[in-house]
Structures are given as structure tokens and as C-alpha cells.
Symmetry: C3
Subunit: 137 residues, 3 copies
């Protein structure tokens, strides 16, 4: 058994962007040679999220629309007096800062229609950090 | 310390179904003899979710109703042009693909009113797969 | 590699309360001397949640308001016939029972604007239990 910590750096190019990081994580699994265990994928930013779902263009647009329905951009939020990104934080609050994913046979053990997404809710940003913690053997 | 990976197969009998998998997971804990650690419960399907809450019939119906309020079935979603299950994916997006639960004294260390649920958002399905990764000693 | 399980006891003083537990968890990291790994933070109560975001007073008020918009207090819920706290359970259902957070250099590897919150959705309560499972070396 061992633990190994790595970090991904991601840049986003617009306010709301869903970025598929599955292959980057699989590449690191190949590199560190973990055969069985878990990887915890954790975003270090409170205006972003880590989620798992299907990478289909229309669906990702639907998801952006649903989030905008649930957390209106044009509301008057208290946090906007401090920093003009309350809606981004509130979406992140409703979603999740991390996901923990099983590794089997040196492979992310995802379903056929699952990808791992970093979601920037307050881009564009040049340097978003994602912590990856691998535990296993 | 060891890691052990197992899988549950679940079938659902209707479109929206909440299935309590607590006792199945506890049985596997007994079988593999892990006394202290964690279990990561991960659904391999992007139209389903893993959640923890109280197993009370009325509450589970309330939860179904709330999800239907938040993600309307009758909207026109882009993903429905590809596959007619956008609302199921969108509910899964808002919920979670996994939960990680502590194990103490060879027992799931849940609260009195907590059960572990697999939620099928796009049933009925004959063969849903849930990965269980046990890490501990 | 080792696993170590500890528990926090928290009391809340009102119906909805967000309590920052970051420093309590960091203190325990110092005590048990884990340098690299993860901590799983798990609430044992199905009317509460564990979340990570920015500890800014206005934002926390915005988050309370958004939750009240999404899950109305004055609806007629089935669960209210059993126990008058359906809306608290439903908010917990939409949020998360746990978060898993990386530890590096004997420190919670959070971003600058991230705190770990216990959210009581059905307070005030004298004795809320949060399980902490540390895995690493």
C-alpha cells in the first residue's frame, strides 16, 4: 500500500467551462503504476467543482442551463458586495469539491458513459489547481 | 493495511427508484473482515447516484418530487436529441456519483437514521454496477 | 501507511447554522502526525451536511437563502406526517454527507478560499457527531 500526491494545472477560457480531465488522470495512473485502489480528485477553488457524468456536448449545455435556472445570475447576493462572483460560489456549494474514483487493473474503473470533469464556474482563469491523491497498491 | 475491490449488481424496476444497499455492503464487510477504514461506494452509471439519508417511505417520495421540481421532465433539453434521458443525467449531475463511508469495529459507522442508497434515475435497468473499494485494516 | 479514526462533537445554536471545522481537523492532523494522505469527513446525521467553500458571512447567508428557494419550508411534505423536518432532510439529500480532503506536508491541502463546513439543517442540536478517518503515512 502507498499514497502518492500529484497536482494538475488547468486553464479555463470562459466564465462557465466543463473540462474533461479523465485522460490526464489515467496518464498519471500509468506513470505511478498503481494497480488497485482509489484516486481522490479535489479542486482547490471554491468557485469550481469536480463531477462525473457523460461527455456529450448537448448535455453539458443542458447542465449549464439548469445551474443558471437554480442559481440566478441577476439576483442581489450579499457576497457580491465583497467580490462579484456570488453565483459562482453558490453553484459550487450545490455541487461538490471532490470525487473519489476506484482504480482496478491500473485503470480508472468508470462506466462506459462516465468522464471526470473539472467545472470552472468563475473563469476564465489561467491556473486552476486540482489535487490528486492516489491510495492503493 | 489493505485494499479490496468488490462489485454489487442491482436491478431497478421503475424509472425512479431508491434502493437501500446498506445491508449488502455490511455483509461484504463481514466477509472480507475489515475492522477499521473506509468504503468508497461508486456507481458506474451517469443516470444514477449514491446518497445517504433516512429510509422513510414518505421522505423518499418527497425527494423524488423535489428532484422533479428542480429538473423538469417536460423541458426541451439538447441531450434529448441524442438519447431521451437528459433529465436523468441532469439529476445525476446535481447529486453525487459516490460516497465514502467510515468503517469502525467491522461496522459501517453510520448514524441511527442513515442508510446508503443507490438511486436509479433512468430505470428500469436489469444490471446496474456499483463499485465498492475497501481500504483499511 | 495507517488508518486512524476520530470523532468531533459539535453543537449548533439555531435551525440553520454553518460551522467552520477546518481548524479542529488541522489540530487533529498535528496530533496524530499524518504527513501525507486523506481525511474523510463524514456527518452521522441525515439533516446535516459537510461542504467546502469560502467562509464569508454574506456568502453563507446567500447559501441559506438559495437552499430555502430550492426546498421550500412551507410545502406539504409526506415526511412531515412522521417527523416535522422534511425540508431539512431534503436539503441534506441535495448536498453531501461527506467530503474527502487531501493532506500534504502535515497540512490540509485546501485552497486559499476554502474552509470545511459542517452545516446543521435541523438545529439547534447539542451533540452532532462527525467521523474523521485519516489514511496515509
Amino acid at each position: 500500500m502507498f499514497v502518492k500526491t500529484l497536482q494538475l494545472s488547468i486553464s479555463s477560457s470562459k466564465k462557465f467551462e466543463i473540462i474533461d480531465i479523465t485522460s490526464e488522470i489515467q496518464n498519471l495512473i500509468d506513470e505511478i503504476k498503481i494497480s488497485e485502489g482509489i484516486v481522490n480528485v479535489f479542486t482547490k477553488h471554491s468557485t469550481s467543482s469536480i463531477l462525473i457524468n457523460e461527455n456529450e456536448e448537448g448535455l453539458l449545455k443542458d447542465f449549464e442551463n439548469i445551474l443558471n435556472d437554480l442559481v440566478k445570475e441577476n439576483n442581489s447576493y450579499f457576497h457580491d458586495n465583497i467580490d462579484n462572483n456570488a453565483s459562482s460560489h453558490l453553484k459550487s456549494f450545490l455541487l461538490s469539491s471532490s470525487e473519489t474514483i476506484p482504480i482496478m487493473n491500473s485503470t480508472l474503473d468508470l462506466g462506459t458513459w462516465q468522464s471526470i470533469f473539472f467545472i470552472d464556474l468563475d473563469g476564465p482563469r489561467a491556473n486552476r489547481k486540482i489535487n490528486l491523491t492516489f491510495i492503493g497498491e
